[in-house]
Amino acid sequence: MSQAPALVVLIALIGGAIRVSTPFMFVALGECLTEKSGRVNLGLEGTLVLGAMCAYATAYHTGSPWLGVLAAGAAGAVLGAMHGYICKLPRVNDIAIGIAMMSFGTGVAFFFGKPYIQPQAPRLGALPLGAWTGNPQLAASLEVSPLLLLGIAVAALMAWAFANTRWGLIVRMTGDSAPAAKAMGVSVDLVRFLTTTMGGFLAGIGGAFLSLYYPGSWNQGLSSGQGLMAVALVIFARWSPVRCVVAALLFGAAGAIGPSLQSVGVNQGYYFFNAAPYILTLFIMVLSAKSKRAAHDVPGELSITK
């Protein structure tokens, strides 16, 4: 072993946090926006997968990965719009719709994605932010995708917008109290429709990351519940975009625990290490569910926590 095991694991965790966190981040930010306005979209898992497929297919046909990213966002927006439109009909349960969208989105993605399992699409490049370190492993860990930086920028923008703009205020009001929003003349349905669509757009981009950067391939096993974990992340982050970013980084690191421990010789029980993200999610959901601070931050209209 050329380096101390603890250092190897730490480097792997940093790399994991940077690499694996981005899809979580985008989906969590999208869901954060949607939930701030009082709606839950559990279908983001399907949006993630469909976005990944569209990104891959578009990049393959056009040769441009960034067009793929845009296509993924568009696909996500379409699914988000579907969800938003359906949920405003009376008597419709938005959690059930979310599950249905999840299976619909996944089905459509697998259906159209079949011809793309084999071919190779051009991948997104990375910014070698670690080139200044002499350590090749650390340099590899610090290779940052532009999408990660974009995600952080979006989070910052969202945080600022929620606090300082009129539009942010409208979204928050719609989420906290629909009657109050209506009294102000705001169309609650329209606001939620728009936020769900935007949320879908962001989640689609998260999917594009999976297929165009890391792991950089399209097949049917690409997502394993990341969309749903991101929804839990938002609760953990208490609906703050900046905390969503931190939580996503944490999850990315958790996803890297299994393989990195094996690589330094901690070989027992790798199934449990691989299940670490799910255990972590459950744990934090339990912790954050009824805490006083959560009760303060939750948008009042959100059915998920009523």
Partner: protein
Amino acid sequence: MGYSNISRRTLLQGTAAGVIAAASVGRLARAGDVTIGIVYVGPRDDFGWNQAHAVAVKSLKSLPGVKVVEEENVPETDACAKTMESMINLDGANIILGTSFGYFDPFMIDVAKKYAKVEFRHAAPLWNAQKHPKNLGSYFGYLNQAHYVDGVAAGLSTKSNKLGFVAAKPIASVLSNINSFMLGAKSTNPNASVQVIFTGDWSMPVREAEATNALVDAGADVITCHVDGPKVVIQTAESRGVKTCGHNASQAPLAPKGFITGAEYKWETIYKAYAADVAGGKPMPNMMSGGYEADMVQNTAFGAGASPAARAAAEKAMADLKAKKPIYVGPLKDTKGKIVIDKSYDNLDPYLDQMDYLLEGVVGSIT
């Protein structure tokens, strides 16, 4: 309908390996019209296990009087039994090929008992003349021989003396591949060691990418794998700038700079033999397996990562294996220090099919 004599050779007799079993029991198939049903556990174009079968079976489609029906993504539950029955009942299949390990017991055994007129063949060395029906059989290529050749080339291609192996599940055929790879590497580079990371499932792209990165971070500069779809592993390794050896199908196009060679099955040999038997009205053998000596495995053409020394060594290893030189020559210890290979075993010896250990020289653990 005649039955030829049943030969007594069974899997449990550890005698010298037969290449093609003489046991050819079963009804004489009608020469000519034949419908072959093949069942895949995953997608046909996964750059891996299923693709290897699909590519091989394509060669049968062009034969006159032969129809091929395929079904993908059939899980190892009663769904596969129902799929096979559906192919027999609704498509008129008279040969069924089951390509996934878990199809055999109890599903193919039960379906074979039910449809005595249909021939069933399974891609793993499980058939036992004493326990299983006569219209069932096995075929298998000993891919570990090709992994041995990979190891030979990899041993001469590594500078850090560390080789990385991304494996799915710790089952016998995977463990044999890992051990053979290590033995091959050590034969040309006694200082080489192989580190293995298990992902826990046959197809988990994110975990495979993480495992590859972890291995490279730990110092490995040649990566190979045994997962259903090696695309992610090879691509990730290539992007980290390390060399790669492929698995199951040719991943050479994915690694233009670092590809050395790869371990591939050559299912065509077997499928063409089956088709020829059927076209000629002869019964299909119950057991067909082998490695290099039977032309049932092959190595992918050398890529840019293969140095002339590595190429030469690999080619010599292939020739040796064709001449049946054994890979597992004892005494060899496992990672816990116990002697598990006591003598020299012929490459097709059934004792090796029960492998449940990693040999000394491999860093890693099974659970």
